[in-house]
Point group: C2
Chain length 432, copies 2
């Protein structure tokens, strides 16, 4: 395929994608396929000669789409949101074309420098303490990780390296092994200190945990994977109070801030803590500026060596929405969750199971876990909407998470009417 | 931005990208900027109100491009290739729009199933032993990781879990800690068993290492990050001989097989080994098919929870090139490396420093390391071409890696003439 054909096919793909997202409401949110559906539909090995683009695009509709769970359907309320926005899609086309691998400053200075500045922009939106920002002379700074899991692992490894060095400095006779076997990682009920857990969006009390960690010289990592995006709104910023005690902080703009996956934002107060744990310096990656103290080589900040130009997505999204547009987006989702909560509270058959702080409503039918499992089974079998459950204090609970960029009040209302109808059917079937 | 505006802007972006790649030869391969160049060019914080797309696209040319190292310039010979092809760009547009997070089969069945089948297609292209393929009833199978580092870490963790369980089964009194502290990970000179090292593309002897690992019940992981793509050509497949002794094997189609980053292909002979090490099963990720034995939940195969629909890139690339097209691409690069090797050998001032097996030529000026460092400095300062060095047995060596999809013999010849000219200048300056 030459660039002329790419111009033509690329534009067809843009239309295909716009058609898909415009019409997504009309697609069944959860697919009908059974495990193993796809293999018989395609050849057992790659073709020797090229196929045409028409064939492939036809197969997308025939083979792929029937097996897609449509995460961006306004009837998708499962898990947590995953971001999808047009500005991010546009940026990703550019990111793919530039196709640089930004493991060092020299490997593509723009890739590294835009990332540092975008992480400062985002940190300022969240009103993170100054210590987490890179600025021109700061000791802190941010990095885009692939996922919150990677950020947590990086924090853990940095914490371990730091404490080993501190103890070895104090007692030079201590071996690394002797120190390691005594190290303890504390975590809360839902892992590390968490702001907005997956099950029910609960919050650890940082103002209690933080000072203890600081006094005891313990590394504090805070994970706000989902909730973090909301902190750009002044009315939710208080949920982040106590972050000043942390050594590292992480949340996922790829969940709720319209920056397509993957974009997990991590900040540290002392970047030397991260870099110290991972420094990798073979000759083929060295460059003339690296010892100047002026530059960032992000390969030392993460597990993989390679990295894409992901800050372009942040830049496009932040600029094309503006902070006000992003705040409005968060507020709309929170408002929809509250509307759903109100609807649930109006039906005495149901109960709300956790405080609705942001965009997640945990609810259940008053009654046994079995009853609620049956209700969820009916909801997900009907495939008009899609939910997943969680356990809260041994109770089986349904999660209704506001997810899609295109979800409106009417979708929430229709979904609730649908749930009520299925509930009535279920209770009638049980009586009969 | 609504879908109508996306149609318009998306098409503009397709043209922008096509213009960029068509004209990339005319751009200076390595940028002129100094560390910190970008920050003063953009605002210190995100705008409150939206910017226009025109402003952003103008800023890409004004602010981003001057700081880009153009990895896809035909004058880029540094590191190793990173893939960039039109079919992969098209697939990534679709991947972004579908925007599913395929951590479980249910989260998007097509995402999981296409990946399993594409990994089988790719395994067959490489003539991997049947044991590594999933097929319909196999015990093995493939997964797309983000990078070879992640694949290596997964193999290490799986190996550790497996040996701990084996020893605990034999001696139930043994604690995990007692076993862990005695575990040893062996690696070669350049880490794990490697086919095609980064420095000089050397190969470990699997036919020696493999049987010993099998006899001693040791996990053997093979990393062929760069070289792996070449094994689709029958004339290079022998370099993979011995893979039958391995427990896990990994290479990066995102390097040399035209599938844009990230796409690191990893296979295991027993998928239960991987899954056993990582099983993560909170209620909100459970689904009705998961205990049927019929499905794959890829979250157990990797560190992060989230994952994109990356197999679309493989599907588009394999189908639009066909196996013959991909083989032709590999052969062209190898041929260009040989042409460069011939040119170097014709100039008695130079020596070739390692056997040229694939697309990398390691060469140097006969003489001191200092002389070669000076030559590289002149090459990279001139910014007409871009190379990086390596150390081979204490010698400072220049690496000339065939990288770009658009590189032709004329670029290689012109680059060599340029190197010869700079060499003549350098030697004259030293004499004067």
């Amino acid at each position: 395929m030459n660039s002329g054909e790419f111009r033509r096919r690329g534009k067809e793909m843009v239309d295909f994608v716009a058609d898909y997202l415009e019409g997504i409401e009309g697609r069944q949110v959860y697919p009908d396929v059974e495990p193993g559906y796809l293999r018989p539909l395609i050849p057992t090995s790659a073709p020797e000669e090229p196929d045409t683009f028409e064939d492939i695009l036809n197969d997308v509709e025939k083979i792929i789409m029937p097996g897609v769970t449509h995460w961006h359907s306004p009837y998708f309320f499962a898990y947590f949101p995953t971001a999808n926005s047009y500005p991010a899609l546009l940026a990703d086309i550019l990111c793919g074309a530039i196709g640089c691998i930004g493991f060092s400053w020299a490997a593509s200075p723009a890739c590294t420098e835009l990332e540092t500045v975008m992480m400062d922009w985002l940190g300022k939106m969240l009103k993170l303490p100054e210590a987490f920002l890179a600025g021109q002379v700061g000791e802190g700074g941010g990095v885009i990780q692939g996922s919150a899991s990677e950020a947590t692992l990086m924090a853990l490894l940095a914490a371990r390296t730091k404490v080993v060095r501190r103890l070895q400095a104090a007692s030079p006779g201590l071996t690394q092994g002797a120190i390691m076997e005594k190290l303890v990682a504390y975590s809360s009920d839902q892992l590390v200190a968490t702001l907005g857990t997956t099950s029910c969006c609960s919050f650890d009390n940082l103002l209690e945990v933080g000072p203890i960690c600081n006094e005891e010289n313990m590394w504090l990592h805070i994970d706000a994977a989902y909730a973090g995006s909301s902190f750009i709104c002044p009315e939710f910023r208080h949920l982040l109070n106590g972050v000043e005690f942390a050594d590292s902080f992480n949340f996922n703009p790829h969940k709720w801030l319209l920056v397509n996956f993957d974009c997990s934002a991590m900040w540290v107060k002392k970047r030397t803590d991260l870099i110290g744990a991972f420094k990798l310096d073979p000759l083929y990656l060295k460059h003339s500026h690296q010892d100047s103290g002026l530059i960032t080589d992000y390969r030392h900040w993460q597990l993989p060596l390679g990295r894409r130009f992901r800050s372009l997505k942040m830049w496009f999204v932040f600029r094309m929405y503006g902070v006000k547009g992003l705040q409005a987006y968060i507020r709309k989702h929170v408002q929809l969750a509250r509307e759903f909560e109100c609807l649930v509270r109006q039906d005495p058959r149901f109960e709300i199971c956790a405080e609705v702080t942001l965009g997640l409503v945990c609810f259940r039918l008053k009654g046994s876990n079995k009853l609620n499992e049956d209700l969820l089974e009916r909801i997900n079998s009907a495939k008009k909407i899609h939910l997943v459950p969680c356990h809260l204090r041994d109770k089986f609970v349904l999660r209704f998470a506001i997810c899609s960029r295109s979800v409106e009040l009417t979708h929430v209302q229709r979904s609730w009417e649908h749930i009520r109808q299925l509930t009535t059917d279920l209770l009638r079937a049980q009586r009969d």
